[in-house]
């Protein structure tokens, strides 16, 4: 008799996790040999130097730190030391703002490109050149022209979420089936109504796929952008803890970044499922 697939998958997942934790624990044992030094000297250096403790934290330490952060996510001890929750809120705020701006630009322009072969041909070279540019490459230029680091970060999010949405929207709109457009034409539907009642529902799954890709990229980029400009946000948190060589906190941040990224992605996946239709 075999157990249901879900259960088997869960068992495999747990085993992988268990092996990973065990290897991690073993790998961070450290030499454990106390170095040969006077007690006064040993007091002045860290445990890594004096007792051979591994510089890499073990799973226990990371777990404890994680609980500590979850217990008090919104503390505020001055402008350079805020809780993980506050930092995440700053990052999410920037991502959502930049992303919303990108939606406002990408979807109308994508419609235009998708519906007009002329515009499609005319704008194509620009899109092809601008698309592959790493969003962070815009950062110095943004800092120099916008003259505000927070707005620059938002601009970088905007520019990186723009292209997947734009291209997917254009593609989705252009790929709406001829028959449906012809029916609309036969019924003498106004262009605006055609766009909203025929093209939009037909292209919605493709558009949302583009939006899903975009939000993923935006979340990837915000961490890097905040590491560059500093101040607030989860990226700044990583940088600040890196500054303190606190690998434990860096790992905690990595886990949290992963979790939030997954939630964002799942939200758009749900939305995509809502608008998906079968022919």
């Amino acid at each position: 008799m075999t157990a249901p697939l879900g259960l088997r998958a869960a068992i495999v997942s747990l085993t992988v996790f268990g092996v990973f934790i065990a290897v991690w624990q073993l790998g961070t044992q450290g030499s454990g040999i106390a170095a040969d030094m006077t007690p006064e000297y040993a007091k002045l250096v860290g445990a890594t130097a004096s007792q051979g403790v591994s510089a890499m934290p073990g799973p226990g330490e990371v777990g404890a730190k994680l609980l500590e952060h979850f217990a008090d996510p919104f503390y505020d001890r001055g402008s350079n030391d805020k809780g993980l929750g506050i930092q995440l809120a700053f990052s999410l705020g920037r991502v959502l703002l930049g992303y919303a701006l990108a939606v406002l630009v990408a979807i109308p322009v994508g419609f235009l490109i998708g519906m007009s072969p002329l515009m499609s041909r005319a704008l194509d070279p620009f899109i092809q050149i601008l698309k592959p540019i790493s969003p962070l490459a815009w950062m110095p230029l943004a800092l120099y022209t916008i003259k505000d680091s927070s707005l620059s970060a938002i601009f970088v999010i905007f520019i990186c979420s723009l292209w997947p949405m734009l291209i997917n929207t254009a593609f989705g709109v252009a790929a709406v089936r001829r028959e449906w457009l012809n029916v609309a034409r036969t019924l003498e539907v106004s262009p605006l109504r055609k766009a909203f009642t025929v093209i939009l529902p037909a292209a919605a799954p493709t558009i949302l796929t583009g939006m899903r890709i975009s939000v993923g990229i935006a979340w990837l980029v915000i961490v890097a952008a905040e590491m560059l400009v500093g101040g607030t946000g989860i990226g700044y948190f990583v940088w600040n803890e890196w500054n303190n060589l606190s690998i434990t906190n860096v790992i905690v941040a990595i886990l949290v970044i992963g979790l939030v990224g997954m939630v964002l992605d799942q939200m758009l996946a749900r939305l995509t499922r809502l608008v998906t239709y079968s022919e």
């Binding site: 170095a35 040969d36 030094m37 006077t38 006064e40 000297y41 007091k43 002045l44 250096v45 860290g46 890594t48 130097a49 004096s50 510089a55 001890r77 001055g78 402008s79 350079n80 030391d81 800092l143 120099y144 003259k147 505000d148 680091s149 590491m227 560059l228 400009v229 500093g230 101040g231 700044y236 940088w239 600040n240 803890e241 890196w242 500054n243 303190n244 060589l245």
Partner: protein, 451 residues
């Protein structure tokens, strides 16, 4: 609107403010407390001084030329007014109270940072937010685009910005040095037997920034030992926080870095302190408090109060008995984000050297605010020496324009320090004497140079 509100507004907006939210003539300020009256007198005097010489630059030049008290004495002989205080940055209303100051999390920034938790800014009527910043280029850009009112910079940076080396040229000023000494050469543990710089050919070194004392001192040290810093070794700019990690990862062989980076490398067992920078040049300037010329001239009272707070904090930091308290105040995550013991070892000068010995060097880092113009001249000679500046430099002119020695001297007296008599001095670096009057000859005197 209550009287106290009005008074607050007058202070917030200053006399030249055209916002209309406050009275300019002083008739509508029925204040009762003595202190308020005193402040009002000073306020009227300052306003009068402004009315007589409206242009901020001229006024400041005039005041510093004749001395504020002389100017006031002269004025009060003509005008029937009871002049009570000095004009520059005394009880005169602050144009702006909420300030943002950027810093890099290193012990060089001690006076700027500690002035926040230990209340030096609030003592001088300012509400300052000190903001940790990711790197020197970012701090430069954020100050240039006015997100920060003033910043912690490396002392060559205001000079470089002013003459436009490595950035757009913006007139910049450096009203105070923050710390002297306070750097060290740290090498990876595997090089503990290579203590002679002649064995360092092929090494990869890190310095915090191209325009830094660290870069110039490392180059100087190497060149004096016959190692060409451009050809025999590699030097690259690495932000201080990443240096220890790079040393651990074996990406670099060593660095000349600001503390606490050196001590942190020892703390984590990845490096040892080869040489303190004070052994290269005893009393060299390191980091600085910098602000744009615009800030200094347009908000003279705020600038005065801020500089006074910094000099006051510096005076506090000079005393050895305060160092432990400072270490505890600046070590938390909000500021340096380092273990307290690391910061304490740097500030007290009793430290582990990474080779198993406890060393005692009380002036490993010291704090002395006076921005000698000859420091600036030396820095400019090194920019010239290493080819960062190709054109001719007006050494003395740039030094005088950027390093505001006169202001610092005046405010040092007010907080009880004794400023030096002269704004220039000669000094000796690794046995070689520098004469600030002959910068070009000094540049030419080196065997290894890029001129």
């Amino acid at each position: 609107m209550s009287a106290s509100d009005k008074n607050k507004n007058a202070h917030l907006h200053g006399t030249n403010c055209g916002c209309g939210a406050h009275a300019h003539d002083g008739e509508s300020t029925p204040l009762h407390e003595d202190s308020e009256e005193n402040r009002l007198t000073a306020y009227t005097e300052a306003a009068l001084m402004r009315a007589i010489i409206p242009d901020a630059v001229t006024r400041r030049t005039f005041l510093s030329a004749v001395g504020a008290s002389t100017a006031l004495a002269a004025l009060s002989s003509i005008l029937p007014l009871g002049f009570a205080g000095e004009v520059l940055a005394q009880a005169a209303p602050l144009e702006k109270k909420d300030l943002k100051i950027g810093f890099i999390p290193i012990t060089c920034a001690t006076p700027i940072i500690m002035a926040a938790p230990l209340g030096f800014y609030s003592k001088h009527g300012l509400n300052v937010e000190v903001i940790k910043t990711a790197g020197w280029a970012v701090i430069r850009d954020k100050t240039l685009n006015k997100e920060y009112d003033a910043a912690h910079m490396l002392s060559p940076m205001p000079l470089a910005i002013t003459i436009g080396a490595g950035s757009t040229a913006v007139p910049y000023t450096m009203p105070a040095v923050e710390n002297i000494n306070g750097q060290a050469i740290t090498l990876a543990m595997k090089h503990k037997d290579k203590r002679d710089p002649k064995d360092w050919r092929g090494f990869k070194f890190a310095v915090p920034f191209d325009y830094s004392m660290h870069n110039y001192l490392l180059r100087y040290y190497l060149a004096e030992h016959g190692i060409d810093p451009d050809q025999d070794v590699q030097t690259r700019a690495v932000p201080p926080p990443e240096m220890v990690a790079n040393l651990r990862a074996d990406n670099i062989d060593g660095f000349l870095a600001p503390d606490p980076v050196n001590q942190r490398a020892v703390y984590d067992g990845v490096g040892f302190i080869h040489l303190l920078s004070k052994e290269i040049w005893e009393g060299h300037p390191c980091c600085a408090f910098a602000a744009s010329k615009e800030f200094v001239t347009q908000l003279p009272n705020t600038y005065g109060a801020l500089l006074k707070a910094i000099i006051d904090a510096t005076a506090f930091a000079t005393k050895a008995e305060n160092r432990k308290q400072i270490a505890e105040a600046i070590a938390p995550a909000n500021y340096l984000n380092q273990p307290v013991t690391v910061v304490e070892q740097v500030l007290t000068g009793t430290y582990a050297d990474g080779l198993g010995k406890v060393q005692t060097v009380p002036n490993r880092i010291d704090f002395a605010p006076f921005p000698y113009e000859s420091f600036a001249v030396w820095i400019l000679t090194q920019m010239k020496r290493w080819g960062q500046v190709k054109t001719d430099i007006d050494y003395a002119g740039v030094a005088k324009q950027v390093f505001l020695a006169t202001d610092a001297a005046k405010l040092m007296k007010e907080v009880g320090l004794t400023p030096p008599e002269s704004t220039t001095k000669s000094f000796t670096i690794m046995g070689k004497t520098f004469d600030p009057a002959k910068p070009e000859e000094y540049v030419q005197s080196f065997a290894i140079k890029r001129v």
